[in-house]
Symmetry: C2
Subunit: 207 residues, 2 copies
Amino acid sequence: MRVIVPYDARDPKTRLAPVLDPEERVAFAAAMCRDTLDGLEAGGYEPEVLATAKPRHEFGVPVSIDDRPLTPAINSVLSGTDEPVGVVVSDLPLLTAESARRVFERDADIVLAPGLGGGTNAIVIRHPEFTVDYHDGSYRSHTALAADVGASTATVDSFRLAVDIDEPGDLTEVLLHGKGQAAQWLRDAGFELVASERGVSASREDS
Amino acid sequence: MRVIVPYDARDPKTRLAPVLDPEERVAFAAAMCRDTLDGLEAGGYEPEVLATAKPRHEFGVPVSIDDRPLTPAINSVLSGTDEPVGVVVSDLPLLTAESARRVFERDADIVLAPGLGGGTNAIVIRHPEFTVDYHDGSYRSHTALAADVGASTATVDSFRLAVDIDEPGDLTEVLLHGKGQAAQWLRDAGFELVASERGVSASREDS
């Protein structure tokens, strides 16, 4: 099984701009990618990074470059192999070996882990005719596309896989549950948990 | 095992006020509570509602009234029984039999399912000295309280248990993944999924 981790090496995490400057977003995205790779490796997998440009950080895994949008870049991988392919987004700092295994050990042609907001945070593809389509709300369209080609599907019910980090509010979950580099990066940058309407929220000193 | 579902029968879901009027919040809270109870019953459990006042809706399960805040109300239940006790919040419209079983079949003195924002959406208590404390970020404090009394803990990694519905943004997940009364209620009230920055979001016609 090939396990692909797509990575935006140009202008990552733009929706975190209200709380992180551009350099910080690059560093934080790299920390999250490392956590994602660490979770996959701890589960026994051998992830590869598929980056939009040469990354400024080392990840210690094979890196290939494809500057196209995510959908054609992944479909190009799919058309070039007969192996099963897993695609895991690079902003899952809560990913653990156990949550990774729940995706890859699940027996179906197409295994999906939805993200908050309807995205597809992890997918395993074991059907030759299936292609991805990473537009808005791709979890639903991937379910429909699987049905179109007669592929069986399974959905993994995981909080750790659902929490991708896109918006300032998402940082709360990193501080609450993260044990890796992204959580440490946030703490070093002055973020901490404070009481809020939702319960607790990430807040930055002096901000 | 007793399974308690706390229910605010007075002024529920105040943080949904920007999108639902008071009568609508009462009706939607009841629909979510029914979905939560349905998920538990489908898993083979016999939930009881613990309400702050007499509910205006019928739930078809035993209802008891305790007008105190959640923490003393639940601790009163705990002190009155030697049985294991489960507490599941009443705003989990994505709860399924399988996700419920993952909590109740897990073998530990204290089993926790965290909610988004650090709350405790489900807890199973099998230790005589443990008491709950439902303040902000209670997931962490429940973990610490378990350690204080020497109780073993386990955490369930479930998206369906993590997504409690408190804020307008949470309605998206109900429309994306809900199959019960809360999702139907939202659709009947004119909510639908539209493309948004996060992917897709719940939006109301004419609002």
